[in-house]
C-alpha cells in the first residue's frame, strides 16, 4: 500500500513537472480589446483572429485577452498587467492605445508589442493595419452603379484619419463611375450605439439616399436598409443575415493569418521591432463578402476592380485628385504615399460635407 502511495505521488509530481515544462514552451499571445468581444464588428473581428491563432497553432500557443478597455491612461494599466503576466507578445487593437503601448514597451524591453492602426514604433513595438480603403473604393463604384437617386449616405463614427480616408476612397470609387455622384455624411461621434446608427440611417433615407454605407460597428443601418427596401454595405463583418436583400457586399476584416504569421516569427526568433505592416486585399487581411443583390454587369465590374487592386493596376488614390477646397493634391498619375494617407485630415473634391476638425 505504502509503495502504491509513493508511486502515485511520484507519478503526480512527474506529471505536474511535465505540465509546467510544457507551459514554459508555450508562446503566450495577449490581446487588448476596445469593445466587447461580441460587438459584431471591430473587436469581434480581432477575437476571431485570436481564435484562428489557437486553432492554427494549437498547443504551441496560449492566448489571453482583456475586453472593454477604454482608450487612454486606463489602458496603460491593462497593457502593463499583461506584460507582467508573461505574455511574449501583446497586440493592442485600437488607435487610442498608441502612447500607452509605447510607454509600457519601454518598461518591458523583452516583451514584444504590436499596435493596430497607429503610426509610432520602437525597438520592441511594431504597427499593423489593413488597407480598408481598397474595399471602400470598390463599394463606392458599386454604389454609383446601383443608386437610382445618385446619392449615397455615409454613417461615420469619429473624425480620425482612418475614417476620413474611407470616405475619400468611397468618393474616388463613386466618381470613377459617375462624376456627378453625391454623398451625404453623418457623424454619430460614437463607434458603438445601434440606436444612433439606426437614427442616422433613417434620416439619410428620408433625405433621398438609396444606398447606405457605414464606418460604425453595429448592423443596425443594414437592418434599416432592409426594412426600407434600399441597399447597403456591411462593415467589418458579413452582415447578410441582417440584410438578406439589402447587402451588396461587405468589407470583412481577416486578422487571423496576420496574427499567426507574427506569432510564428516570435517563436522562431525572426520577429523585429520598429516595423510597420500595412497589408491590403492582395494579402487577404481584408476580404470582400460575396457580391449579392446586384446585376451581373455590376458584379463583374466589382470583381474586375478587386482583381486590379490586388495586382496593383489600380490605386484608389491616383492623381489627378483635387482637395475639397479645389487645390491640387495629386498631380496626374501621382500616387498617394502611405504617410499622407495615414494622417489624412482633408476631404477630396466632391465630398459634400464639412470635415469636423
Amino acid at each position: 500500500m505504502k509503495k502504491l502511495i509513493i508511486g502515485l505521488a511520484v507519478a503526480l509530481a512527474a506529471s505536474t513537472a511535465a505540465v509546467s515544462a510544457h507551459a514554459a514552451d508555450k508562446t503566450k499571445a495577449c490581446f487588448v480589446y476596445l469593445g466587447p468581444k461580441t460587438d459584431g464588428g471591430w473587436t469581434q473581428a480581432h477575437d476571431v483572429g485570436r481564435q484562428y491563432v489557437e486553432k492554427e497553432l494549437g498547443d504551441k500557443v496560449e492566448t489571453a485577452y482583456v475586453e472593454n478597455v477604454p482608450e487612454g491612461p486606463d489602458s496603460e494599466r491593462v497593457i502593463e498587467r499583461l506584460a507582467r503576466s508573461g505574455c511574449s507578445i501583446v497586440f493592442t487593437t485600437s488607435f487610442g492605445y498608441m502612447d500607452p503601448t509605447l510607454k509600457v514597451a519601454k518598461k518591458f524591453p523583452k516583451v514584444k508589442f504590436e499596435h493596430a492602426t497607429g503610426f509610432k514604433t520602437a525597438e520592441n513595438v511594431t504597427t499593423y493595419n489593413s488597407r480598408f480603403y481598397e474595399g471602400r473604393y470598390i463599394i463606392g463604384q458599386i454604389a454609383a452603379k446601383m443608386s437610382k437617386t445618385g446619392v449615397a449616405g455615409y454613417i461615420a463614427s469619429v473624425p480620425i484619419p482612418e475614417v476620413v480616408m474611407g470616405i475619400n476612397a468611397f468618393e474616388q470609387g463613386a466618381k470613377s463611375v459617375n462624376p456627378n455622384f453625391k454623398m451625404k455624411v453623418v457623424w454619430v461621434n460614437t463607434w458603438h450605439d445601434a440606436g444612433k446608427e439606426a437614427d442616422a440611417a433613417k434620416a439619410l433615407i428620408d433625405q433621398g439616399v438609396d444606398i447606405l454605407t457605414q464606418h460604425t460597428d453595429s448592423a443596425a443601418p443594414m437592418q434599416i436598409a432592409e426594412e426600407r427596401g434600399i441597399h447597403a454595405f456591411g462593415q467589418a463583418f458579413d452582415q447578410i443575415k441582417a440584410g438578406p436583400k439589402a447587402q451588396l457586399t461587405a468589407i470583412e476584416d481577416t486578422w487571423g493569418p496576420y496574427y499567426v504569421k507574427r506569432i510564428k516569427m516570435v517563436m522562431d526568433g525572426t520577429w523585429k521591432g520598429g516595423e510597420s505592416s500595412w497589408d491590403g486585399l492582395k494579402d487577404g487581411i481584408l476580404t470582400m463578402a460575396p457580391y449579392t443583390n446586384m446585376p451581373d454587369d455590376v458584379k463583374k465590374m466589382a470583381e474586375d476592380t478587386e482583381a486590379k487592386i490586388k495586382s496593383g493596376a489600380i490605386h484608389p488614390f491616383t492623381g489627378p485628385i483635387k482637395k475639397q477646397d479645389g487645390s491640387v493634391w495629386l498631380k496626374d498619375g501621382e500616387k498617394a504615399d502611405d504617410g499622407t494617407l495615414l494622417g489624412m485630415n482633408f476631404y477630396v473634391e466632391g465630398v459634400d460635407d464639412k470635415l469636423p476638425q
Binding site: 466587447p36 461580441t38 469581434q44 453595429s218 464639412k354
Partner: protein, 306 residues
C-alpha cells in the same frame, strides 16, 4: 409618406425608451428611493427580450420576457436597499455594472442573429390619413404603452389615494410609518414597477428600435432617463416633454448634418445634452417649485422601528 411625417416617426421611436424608463424611475423616486441601476435593468430587459423572442419565435413573448427580466432584476436592488438598508447610490451603481456584465454573458449566443420586430399597428383608412395617420394609428405597440403609462402614472400619482400615500412616503417615511402605512411594501412595489418599465424600455431597443442584440446596446440611455426625471422635476407630463425634446434634438441634428449646413458635427452631437442641461438649469432656478416637487427623503434609507 412625407419627410416631415417620417421625421416625427423617427423622433417617437427615439423618445419612447427614454420616456418609459424615466416614468418608471419617476415612480421609484417619488417613493423616496433613488435607483441608479436603470441602465443595468434596461440592458437586462434588452437582452432577455431579444433572447425570449429568438427562442420562442414570437416577439410578443420577448416583450414579456424583457419586462419580467427588468422586474426580477430590480428586486435584487429592492432586497439590498429596502430590507438590508444598504446605500442606495452604491447599490444602484453596482446594479448597472452587474447588468452590463451579465447581459453580455447571456447575450453571447445571440450576437449577430437577425431579430424579429414587433409589428406596427395598422388600421385601414385611419393609418393612411395624411400627416397624423401613421403617427397616431400606425406605430409599434410599445409606443402606445408609453402613452398609457405616462397618462396612467400621472393619474395614479396625483388623482388617487394610493398615489398620494406613495408621495407622502417619499416625503416623510417616518410619519407615514407612524400612520400605519407599510412603507417598505410600498417601496418594494415602486421599485418593481420601475424595474418593469426599464425592462420594457430595454425590450423596445432590442425588439423595435434595432431588432438585434449587441453588448451595451442601451449606450447610456438609462442615464439619460435618470437625468430626465430630475429635469422634469418629478412630473410625468414634463418627463414626456423632456423625452421628446431630447429625441427631437437628436434626430434634428442628424438631419442638419445630412443637409450639410456646415455646423461642426461634434457640436451637433452634443446638442441634445446641452439642450437638456440648459432647460434643467432654467427649471431649477425656481427654488420653490423644486422644493415642492423633490421627494424630501430621496435616497435616504428608511428602517422602520419595531
Amino acid at each position: 409618406m412625407g419627410i416631415f411625417e417620417s421625421i416625427l416617426l423617427t423622433i417617437a421611436t427615439a423618445a419612447t425608451p427614454l420616456l418609459i424608463a424615466a416614468i418608471g424611475e419617476l415612480v421609484v423616486e417619488r417613493s423616496g428611493v433613488l435607483n441608479l441601476g436603470v441602465e443595468g435593468m434596461m440592458v437586462m430587459g434588452a437582452v432577455c427580450g431579444f433572447a425570449g423572442a429568438s427562442l420562442s419565435g414570437s416577439p410578443w413573448i420577448g416583450l414579456v420576457a424583457g419586462v419580467a427580466a427588468g422586474a426580477v432584476f430590480s428586486q435584487l436592488f429592492a432586497v439590498l436597499t429596502l430590507s438590508i438598508a444598504t446605500n442606495q447610490v452604491a447599490t444602484g451603481l453596482s446594479l448597472t455594472l452587474l447588468g452590463l456584465g451579465l447581459s453580455g454573458m447571456i447575450g453571447e449566443p445571440f450576437v449577430g442573429e437577425a431579430g424579429s420586430k414587433l409589428p406596427n399597428l395598422f388600421i385601414p383608412g385611419l393609418s393612411e390619413l395624411p400627416l397624423v395617420g401613421r403617427l397616431i394609428f400606425g406605430q409599434d405597440p410599445i409606443f402606445y404603452l408609453s402613452v398609457i403609462l405616462t397618462v396612467g402614472t400621472a393619474w395614479f400619482l396625483f388623482r388617487t389615494r394610493t398615489g398620494l400615500t406613495l408621495r407622502s412616503i417619499g416625503d416623510n417615511p417616518a410619519s407615514a410609518h407612524t400612520l400605519g402605512i407599510p412603507v417598505i411594501r410600498y417601496r418594494y412595489l415602486a421599485v418593481l414597477f420601475g424595474g418593469a418599465c426599464a425592462g420594457l424600455a430595454g425590450a423596445h431597443l432590442s425588439l423595435v428600435y434595432t431588432p438585434q442584440w449587441v453588448e451595451n446596446m442601451t449606450a447610456g440611455r438609462g442615464w439619460i432617463a435618470l437625468a430626465l426625471v430630475v429635469f422634469a422635476s418629478w412630473r410625468p407630463a414634463r418627463v414626456a416633454a423632456g423625452a421628446y425634446l431630447f429625441g427631437g434634438v437628436t434626430i434634428g441634428q442628424i438631419h442638419a448634418q445630412a443637409l450639410g449646413f456646415g455646423i461642426p458635427s461634434q457640436f451637433l452631437s452634443a446638442l441634445p445634452y446641452l439642450a437638456t442641461v440648459v432647460v434643467l438649469v432654467m427649471m431649477s432656478r425656481n427654488k420653490r417649485l423644486m422644493m415642492v416637487n423633490t421627494p424630501a427623503s430621496l435616497g435616504r434609507p428608511f428602517v422602520p422601528d419595531r
